[in-house]
Symmetry: C2
Subunit: 211 residues, 2 copies
């Protein structure tokens, strides 16, 4: 399946289904029906079946899917079999919270290095992750085979950090800084702007109240 065939939304849903199979009441079942997955996610049963066909899982929707086989199929589709090493740049409050969040959570998707320009924040481990000076980015990224980066620096430093990440071989960036990054073709970025997220919720909350 090519990049064009698999939308961001499909990937997001597959990630959600797997999480449900790991962590919800479904995790204790031997087999599961598409409508059960749908009821716990924001998808319809039809959509669940289509998505699971797309990952090549060959179970029968009528008899239910075997949970352990389904988890494995989704993993084979989503995950790099060799595991994916991730770095984070910007060891502030949000950066530290993210290091804590991912600490030990996903063996195949691990934050293995964090960087900062502040000397006081580096040359130690935070939530099990080693912290380095930003100047070491290229060398550490090569040594640790890092191709995914998380940006948690302030807005005015984000573009320059993104360029350093791309130079260091990173091909996917999850950006929490409130700027739209400019990156060359062949690099995937996803932005999460906390203020915009909260402004949207506040806007629609207010409209709900009026209607």
């Amino acid at each position: 399946m090519s990049l064009a065939d698999t939308s961001e939304k499909t990937i997001g849903r597959l990630s959600t289904y797997r999480r449900l199979l790991y962590r919800s009441d479904l995790a204790s079942q031997a087999s599961v029906y598409s409508h059960q997955i749908a009821a716990l996610s924001r998808a319809t049963a039809d959509q669940v079946r289509r998505d699971l066909m797309a990952v090549g899982y060959s179970g029968s929707p009528n008899k239910g899917y075997k949970v352990n086989e389904l988890v494995q199929s989704i993993g084979e589709f989503l995950d790099n079999p060799a595991g994916e090493n991730v770095c984070l740049v910007g060891i502030g409050n949000l950066g530290r919270a993210i290091l804590s969040y991912f600490s030990g959570r996903r063996p195949k998707l691990a934050i293995v290095a964090a960087f900062d320009v502040a000397v006081s924040k580096v040359n130690r481990a935070i939530h099990g992750c080693r912290c380095y000076p930003l100047d070491d980015l290229a060398a550490v990224a090569e040594r640790e085979n890092i191709h995914v980066g998380i940006i948690t620096v302030p807005a005015d430093a984000a573009q320059s950090v993104a360029e350093k990440l791309v130079e260091a071989g990173v091909r996917g960036i999850l950006n929490f800084a409130p700027v739209c990054l400019r990156v060359p073709p062949g690099v995937y970025t996803a932005d999460f702007d906390m203020t915009t997220a909260l402004e949207k919720v506040a806007y629609f909350a207010r409209k709900m109240g009026r209607n």
Copy 2:
């Protein structure tokens, strides 16, 4: 403009434009063209013009928009004129990072109360935000006129916290817990799942590398 007319994407873009007018190089200009806003966001100049017409700004695209008037128009459209008080439930690493992030940032969109079940985390201020026992949610939400909530509790507590928020009069929830919340009609929710966000970036980064 009704809720149906204004999509989530439009609201997200308007929030982004305003941020650019506050914080980018555009902030120092007296007037700005749609193509300048487009160049710093992920929108086209056409889209920028359409969005700004939607908020009712009457400036002329040909002569450029006056920056201060545009900021005001977007604010009149997006913001509650009385300001919007927000609460956060779950004073862990992520909750604290979010309190720090919003501290003093938006006078019209302020986190005025944080809640936790752990006695050790409450009855104090964190980044200027007062922290209360979760049992006080309804009373504090009414007193502080809170209609927007942020959930940063673990997955297994999120649904019960969402129900308490709705009972307390909250109509919009920004949810960081990795579950899909079930809320009654009239309540708006937005989910941000850190793991799914990172899994998506890793997936597309890998596909980029192959192509």
